[in-house]
Symmetry: C3
Subunit: 276 residues, 3 copies
């Protein structure tokens, strides 16, 4: 029995996710299916890429992770299957595996070509049901990766470029908001270790954190460490800097959207801007 996680932009207003599961259970009746997320924005490849890279390590060894954000459905884009660290992945070759594979240099990747693992009829618009689901189901049953098709070289794969936090010469760390969750929390790409580097340079001065129309001083260890309605900075569940509001919505309070910059620097570091 093997877990199959599903990450799609299908939403839950239609029959699409249900049909993917129907096909999986037809092939692999003992599969355990976990909905990782289906409410990605349509075609949100970077969002899916980061969510997947963050989520898969929490699943059991041997899990199959199926990601279908596939605006190229029906074109000649390849479908990839990959194996790394005892987990399996199936996804279109559109960059959605970039962060995963960048972090797993020993991953084996194949192009999925063998139609005997597909449904007999392939629609033009729903390879999630007709190709991805049966391939994931067969992998969960133990089909060897290499039986699906030829090896793919990393250099052949489509990549997406994700913004990476930078530290300026003056010591200011600039990252960005990469996800806004249902609570309105602003999740950034600034890992805790980077914060620690700025902290070291600060030599005891607190950190100033700026995003949108807010500037914070220092970080906290829990949302409730500030008054309800007040903003805060914390290391969130992805291990990165998160801006939040105790019992409130940070996206609204900060006025931030995905992609907006987030700045971290030692206080009074000579880079202070006009107060907002």
């Amino acid at each position: 029995m093997s877990v199959i996680s599903l990450l799609t932009d299908f939403g839950t207003d239609d029959e699409y996710v249900g049909l993917v599961k129907a096909v999986i259970y037809t092939i692999a009746p003992d599969a355990v299916i976990v909905d990782l997320c289906h409410r990605l924005d349509p075609h949100d490849i970077p969002g899916a890429a980061l969510l997947l890279a963050n989520a898969w390590p929490y699943f059991p060894q041997g899990s199959v992770h199926l990601t279908v954000v596939d605006p190229g459905v029906g074109t000649q884009r390849e479908i990839l299957a990959a194996q790394c660290d005892g987990h399996l992945f199936v996804a279109p070759d559109n960059g959605v595996l970039t962060p995963l594979l960048d972090g797993a240099p020993n991953a084996r990747v194949v192009k999925v070509h063998d139609r005997s693992y597909f449904r007999p009829e392939i629609s033009r618009t729903f390879h999630g049901r007709d190709i991805f689901a049966p391939v994931a189901a067969h992998l969960s049953l133990g089909v060897e990766l290499d039986r699906l098709g030829p090896r793919a070289q990393g250099s052949q794969l489509h990549r997406i470029e994700l913004p990476a936090p930078q530290i300026s010469a003056a010591g200011e760390l600039v990252g960005s908001v990469v996800w806004i969750d249902r609570f309105g929390n602003l999740i950034t790409d600034i890992e805790a270790a980077l914060i620690d580097r700025v902290k070291s340079a600060a030599r005891g001065r607190p950190l100033t954190i700026e995003a949108g129309r807010r500037r914070l001083s220092g970080m906290v260890d829990s949302y409730a460490q500030v008054e309800p309605g007040k903003p805060l900075a914390i290391i969130g569940s992805r291990g990165t800097l998160e801006l939040a509001v105790n019992r409130g919505n940070a996206a609204d309070l900060f006025g931030c959207r995905r992609g907006d910059p987030v700045r971290v620097r030692p206080e009074d570091s000579g880079m202070r801007r006009t107060p907002l």
Copy 2:
């Protein structure tokens, strides 16, 4: 172990779907439950009918398909159980099974009367939990259809009339938008075979496809065959004509709603209207 699919208008904001599952697992602990869709518009019987008719063939043999869109809950409306092609169905007698049964003349249908398969206490407003769920669970355990109640004749059943595409004397095919999915794709009731008939009549001329404020020439094989933001016509995952926008929202661009007409005809066929 048997799959039970759930199709309801319960939404996912309340405990209703969870309670249906709780009751099923109490009776059939090994059931595998698949959420087909719960976000139908409240009381959307035609939408449920078409979604079910399209979806059930993708499920494993022996599946039980539970459909609860039930504005008549608590009245004398019957509850039906049906068997066809190795699948089982449970639904209120309000027409939600019409397309399914129209396509399955050999289906056996019974009226669900035997209260020993219900929960002991029946609420006035939630037969999904108190009747439908336990009946579906018992069917999944192998209870014979005829033990649930007397046979129902097709002529006794409530029917819904669904619009059917028509071909005019002049050769214009007129169907309608029967579903709009989360991507904004306009899914019609015009099956591929009907399109082929118009194509044959067109003798090589491309097809003109009209819906809302848009007119298209010809069909494509993938969304990405047109530029991002551009509209297209394609055979979608239900095997019917679908109007879409590459990486965009067709419902917005075409200005269409469910029920709106969609016209297909050979180009320059003498039926051309004033350009929109």
Copy 3:
């Protein structure tokens, strides 16, 4: 094999629910997970408390019910595990178990302290994944409640005060709207037995029921007993008074929100107000 129900305010737009399941299946691969509800308003402790108290009895004996509405995550708030009537419960100590425990004086409650049942790394913001999920998984495997930590006395626990219906000296029953479901139905805290008391006092006169800008006379046995679009009062699926509209939305028609009062009294009882 044991059912684990999940009740959270995580929503379904993010990976949070998926990660909770990933952690559970890593520890308890045979668990059967039921999503009770994830779309509670953020931090809606009273809503979660009532939903849980109403829902758990429908689950199989031996189920583990995990409730994570946890604005105090990362503070010193306790995490509780409880056992009553053959069911197990895990939740933060913030009052979300108040109605459950008030109705179960023999419940055993412990404070969850033993970190060997947690994930090795505990984030500041997502105890659902790092503590609650693994604890629920271990309980579903049969770990004894008392191994998790010391007994908690009822008097030590955080409580929430929920409004309770009152009967005035003049015989008017005043309750409130405690939930509005996806259909717009107004679910109150007025149990059927309370209605019966007012009915007895009415000696055959019908009941007047008032909420928002509407006043109804008498109750019905099914939504369809009134014309489409018309309001009605009925005993709903929680066993309490529910105000609804046949094929319509009562929240809109009555102009009611959660917390608004609902009044029930014998007609012409001398308390009639100016017609609305």
